[in-house]
């Protein structure tokens, strides 16, 4: 199974939206050292209908704007399937409705935040705006959410029911979540929370302007003891070995405990294997791997590894990138991306 990235779009804590530059103006200073908030575009430009836009919460706006931007630049491709992924969904709306239950003692509640709290709100809004009655799914499984969405899309493309599939990973940070994570000591050794919305138009056929090719992915729980074996068999299923990979792009969050499985694997690979990391730029969240895939595709397209991704080892002529993501030392995923030849 493989597919082509026709176009992609990212709203992230970095200036990644609607720009040709690739992580050249990285935002080093953030309001709070433990939390990376998205650099938001002018939503008036992206979501034209004012009434609709006003009702949308932060995460819905991020998701919808990123999705519409992705479709707009997709060389005329319209999605035959819309698949969204989110770890916590419309968290602010969920909290708002909970708060109103408490404050109003369960009486005379405004349903808007309840309606918008459902996990499939963004997917539904995209369908509504694009007027697409096609297949519409929302995955909500922690660090497997975006992975499930891409797997589903690749199966759709192979089944032939769809030629173009819109796939996105979206999550937001809220103050409550921030406080909860702080109490859990989530970032004690330097991890940051983050948010973002990355969308991809995946296609079954190649086109000259494609950004990159996704050649495979797999997921596994971090309790697996032999990560090298996992990586090896994954690459073998793509007809490769680690020697065929030109760059490893990994998603450690900065907390050694949470990164244990990923770091133990990285310690086992040849010392001359070029590596880079991405999570210090987007922060940690359930669907952060979508930012990793966005970075990998951009590296393949631009044929350069920006210094912001902290590259180690020389990597010119990057044809294949292995993205290794881990979420809370539990959900691990591997993506193989290749340059479109």
């Amino acid at each position: 199974m493989k597919c082509y990235i026709r176009n992609m779009s990212a709203i992230s804590p970095q200036p990644t939206f609607a720009t040709d530059s690739f992580l050249t103006d990285v935002v080093e200073t953030v309001v709070d050292a433990n939390c990376l908030k998205a650099v938001e575009p002018d939503y008036k430009e992206c979501i034209k209908e004012a009434g609709l836009r006003r009702r949308m919460s932060h995460v819905i706006k991020m998701g919808v704007a990123s999705a519409l931007n992705c479709v707009e630049g997709a060389q005329g491709a319209m999605p035959d399937a819309i698949i969204t992924a989110t770890g916590l969904g419309c968290l602010a709306d969920t909290e708002k409705f909970l708060q109103s239950i408490v404050e109003n003692d369960e009486k005379l509640l405004n349903p808007t935040s309840f309606i918008q709290s459902t996990f499939n709100t963004i997917g539904g809004q995209i369908a509504l705006i694009l007027k697409r009655q096609c297949y519409n799914f929302t995955y909500v499984h922690r660090g497997f959410s975006f992975e499930s969405a891409v797997l589903d899309a690749m199966m759709q493309l192979e089944e032939g029911d769809a030629s173009n599939v819109l796939v996105g990973g979206i999550d937001e940070v809220t103050d409550t979540e921030y406080r909860v994570m702080e109490r859990m000591g989530f970032w004690r050794s330097g991890a940051k929370m983050g948010e973002g919305a990355q969308f991809f138009m995946l296609s079954s056929t190649v086109s000259s302007q494609d950004v990159a090719q996704i050649s495979g992915l797999c997921t596994f729980l971090a309790d697996t003891s032999d990560y090298s074996q996992k990586v090896q068999s994954f690459l073998a299923s793509c007809g490769m070995t680690l020697a065929d990979v030109d760059l490893v792009l990994s998603g450690e969050c900065g907390d050694a405990k949470m990164d244990a499985s990923l770091l133990s694997w990285k310690a086992s690979i040849p010392a001359n294997m070029p590596t880079a990391t991405f999570k210090h730029l987007c922060g940690e969240y359930q669907t952060a791997s979508s930012f990793g895939v966005w970075c990998a595709a951009n590296i393949l397209k631009n044929q350069m590894v920006p210094s912001a991704l902290r590259p180690v080892g020389k990597s010119d002529n990057v044809r294949r990138i292995l993205v290794f993501n881990s979420y809370r030392n539990k959900n691990c995923s591997l993506f193989l991306l290749e340059k479109v030849e």
């Binding site: 369960e106 349903p111 497997f144 192979e158 997921t219």
Partner: protein, 395 residues
């Protein structure tokens, strides 16, 4: 496409296992009644599972001191039953996946955490919030029952678990897994009761699906799972039916309401039949979404008329027994559909009286045995325009 249902498991307001559910269904015994597990200011009947969390833990042999979301506990009961029913040994080296779905996730615990933490720096117990996300229950179930293959969780409101079955079948077709346990779970919680109450679609009495006097739905809690495998089981091995076809579409009409002419539901139903290679007139029974809200039943009925014309098959809504179990609805109704085929019976919407004038459709009101059920359609429609339809057939 065309995987086989080789095991089923369910816990709902009408029983803690498949046999208890079946017995209630053929005895016209509803599970809708008073809510006793927590307090709310809304005076509405619900489909509550009477076992408390502690009783569920005891039943599952889990430590009482450990905190589990009710979602995880209900899911474990149903998945355990389904695996046992299918005779699956999780240690036999098969690639076993779990595709679960839920709309509330661990909200039954986190809504309490939220109240306790308000205005206090250290308010609330963290153990009540770690299971908030939807993936938690899936991982808890997998870990408790030794499922070590692909895990995923879907949340598309009330169509969630129908979508879980769809994904499961596709994963089998792509040879990603050997066996998949698929279904969904939702517990009752304040959040959803208040949510549906704020939409003013909760009936204060027993819901009346497809009735002209219908005044809304009853919420219920449940977990329902099926075990699917790609190959036809050997002779003598258990096999309920085949998942012959399915379709997922988006109504793209409104964030919560379904279109009045049922465009989305029609796309889902006709798409599922097309995929199954089954003609509308071959459908023997439809387990309708039939929530009892003004909007759903009108829209679903209109779509059925458009699909089936004047020859609408026998149909019923089992939500008069269980309530609307949201993310679990497609899962438990898949179990009921499997029972309808394998035991050749239709479960009635026993309280139906007055047809909706413009539809003039009448659900079955009596138990029908030896009804010759070979093909069953099961509908699940939800917020966000998500509409799904499954078609099951006798082997």
């Amino acid at each position: 496409m065309g995987s086989y249902v080789v095991g089923i498991g369910v816990i709902s307001a009408i029983g803690n296992n498949v046999e208890e559910n079946f017995d209630s269904l053929v005895s016209k015994r509803t599970g809708i009644g008073a809510l006793t597990h927590f307090s709310t200011s809304h005076d509405v009947p619900v489909g509550q599972i009477d076992l408390t969390n502690d009783e569920l833990k005891e039943m599952l042999g889990l430590p009482k001191a450990k905190t589990y979301s009710r979602t995880a506990l209900l899911g474990m009961v149903a998945v355990k039953e389904a695996l046992r029913d299918a005779g699956i040994d999780v240690h036999a080296g098969l690639r076993i996946g779990l595709i679960s779905s839920t709309s509330a996730g661990g909200m039954d615990l986190s809504e309490n955490f939220y109240v306790e933490m308000k205005g206090k720096k250290d308010g609330g117990r963290l153990r009540n919030v770690v299971s908030h996300d939807c993936g938690d229950s899936t991982e808890q179930i997998a870990s408790a029952l030794g499922i070590n293959g692909f895990l995923s969780t879907i949340s598309t409101a009330c169509s969630s678990s129908a979508n879980a079955l769809m994904l499961a079948d596709r994963l089998l077709n792509h040879d990603q897994l050997d066996v998949v346990v698929a279904g969904g779970i939702d517990p009752l919680c304040k959040f959803t009761i208040n949510g549906f109450s704020s939409l003013m679609i909760l009936d204060k009495e027993l819901c009346r699906p497809f009735d002209a006097t219908r005044a809304g739905l009853n919420l219920g809690e449940a977990a329902g799972f099926v075990v699917l495998q790609r190959n036809k089981p050997a002779d003598g091995k258990k096999c309920y039916c085949r998942l012959a076809g399915y379709a997922n579409a988006n109504d793209a009409f409104h964030q919560t309401a379904t279109s009045p002419d049922g465009d989305g539901p029609l796309l889902a139903m006709s798409g599922a039949l097309k995929k199954a290679g089954i003609r509308p007139e071959e459908v023997d029974y439809v387990n309708v979404h039939g929530t009892g809200t003004g909007n759903n039943d009108q829209s679903e009925g209109t779509a059925m008329k458009r699909l089936f014309g004047e020859n609408v098959p026998r149909f019923s809504s089992t939500k008069v027994y269980t309530g609307h179990t949201l993310g679990a609805a497609g899962g438990i109704e898949a179990v009921y559909s499997a029972l309808a085929i394998s035991r050749d019976v239709i479960f009635p919407t026993f309280n139906f009286k007055n047809p909706i004038e413009e539809l003039a459709m009448k659900p079955e009101t009596e138990v029908i045995r030896n009804a010759g059920i070979k093909v069953v359609m099961s509908n699940s429609f939800g917020f966000g325009g998500n509409v799904s339809s499954l078609v099951f057939s006798a082997e």
